[in-house]
Amino acid sequence: MSDISLFIALPIGMAFFIPIVSRNIKWFPDIAGNFTTFVLMLLSLLTINQEIVYNVGNWKPPFGIVLVLDGFSCLVLIIVNLIGFFSTLFSVEYIEKMFTSKLRYYSLFLLMLAGMNGVVLTGDLFNLFVFLEIASVASYALVGFGCEARELEASFKYLVMSSIASTFILLAVALIYGRFGTLNMAHVSLMVQKYGMDNVIKFSAVLLFCGLAVKAALVPFHAWLPDAHPSAPAPISAMLSGVVIKALGVYVIARITYNIFEMDTMISSMFIILGIVSMMIGVLMALGQWDFKRLLAYHSISQMGYIILGLGLGTPLGILGGIFHLFNHSLFKSLLFLNSGSVEYETGTRNLEKLGCLSRRMPVTSFSSLVASLSISGIPPFNGFWSKLIIILAAIQAGRPFSALWAVIGSILTLASFTKVQRYVFFGHGKHFKLESLPQIKEVPNLMQMSMILLAILCTVTGVLALGGPNGIFGPVIDVLTGGPSAYILKVLGKQ
């Protein structure tokens, strides 16, 4: 697998090909969408343990655009395309019943996927902004896909906040270009090492961080997330919570702080404080929610706090914990959103008070959501337990026992909140539950079941991935991040 530009070219090409062809052929969008994401998933699995620098148009690095594939981008690429495949598999029957226009749905979905693959692979700051906007614009449209009053309201709120964030990022890119006259990330990093961080670069670093923190929904910047994620169709919520906030937010933040500007103690303590605040406020807000998807959205904020905390510790163990949690969170959070989609598909509501007793009528949904709930609350042997354990151990090892304590408290509150979900939806019932509605409810169709079962199996088995310590798939990621700017410069530009 050497031609990594396929990750961008294939979904963009299909996104424009689907609406042209499928005006008269009803079944085409399903087949084409699923086929594309399946091929992308296989291609992403082929990139493991490879390092490629691809010069677009064969222009040499400081002048042309480069695509860089290293350990970190490989991992995020796998997450994006894996969850993308499961979401399209789920969409086939879900969109058929709940929404009208399949060809627009798949077209926007593939555009979003192309944008995220581009963000993960690119090595050029302006190109990063362009792909960020492609993914964001597609996701604004997908959040408002239902065109009901609430969905439009959420979509507009998301659009305004995210556009302001994008403008901040563009201003930062312009300032960096004005100061150094280059846009290549490795070359910018080289210039920062040569000339030091002056005020212009510091200001643009702050602008970049604020913009990306909105995309990643860290707590002072989180207000759009609890509205936008529940309003989208369920497979899109799974993509937004599972992948978009990570690929557009955390990945870029980590890449910029570790590989372009150097990680220092000030940034590190800022990350830790932001992480703890997101972790606690997210989970406390989630406890009081009665809307199934809104509760899950608040948990996304809280789990992002764990990831940022792990990355902020800066030690190899902390980075391992953060990255492993990023991987695990994308699996179990997208599974939980698919579960909520199945519940809405059968019952037509997602209010916890109106649901109940579904474990008998929908065994597959109920069992897979139990697996995901145990994973997110950190119960062994599921994957969430191992990553949270590593983060807590890393916090103690780094001499920050209070961060570890907050992480434990957050985990206990998460367990409490998911006990509530399981009790009201699957095992017990809520206040306004009507028993006579129960006999019409049956298990969801086969493809939806299949994607949930596959994700539940992945949640159970991926716990062993980090057993051998930081080897295998997570080793290269830690090498990339701890290597700092000099290793990144060496990889992209060669010897100076």
């Binding site: 362009v130 309201e153 305004v160 556009s163 312009a174 270009y177």
Partner: protein, 115 residues
């Protein structure tokens, strides 16, 4: 000096986007922000008595280096204007649909989402 005027324009746009209650004014605020950044980018490539950066057989390299402008910011601005157009059309489409649903452009009246 001229850069700080750009920055003032940016701040005016930010004020409009964050503090106004009317959807149309919010959209205008976002546009002003975007255009101030575009203006800043294009000013980065500006040069007094500049010439177009094209080399042919008669070009003298010394005067070329002394007078040619940097073409890259113009390419960046072009891309950023196109992206801005896409975002603008989506924003306007959503605001028209919102007006059909709520019958108003005032965002304080739109509170069907639970809090």
């Amino acid at each position: 000096m001229i850069y700080s005027l750009c920055f003032i324009l940016f701040i005016i746009g930010l004020y409009g986007a964050t503090c106004k209650k009317n959807i149309v004014k919010i959209i205008l605020g976002l546009l002003i922000m975007e255009y101030s950044v575009n203006l800043f980018l294009i000013l980065l490539g500006w040069r007094k008595n500049g010439v177009a950066p094209i080399i042919d057989s008669q070009t003298d390299m010394k005067t070329f280096v002394a007078h040619s402008v940097d073409p890259l910011p113009q390419a960046l601005v072009l891309t950023s204007i196109v992206i801005g157009l896409g975002v603008l059309s989506l924003m306007v489409a959503i605001s028209i649909r919102l007006y059909q649903r709520y019958g108003t452009f005032d965002i304080t009246e739109m509170k069907k989402l639970k809090h």
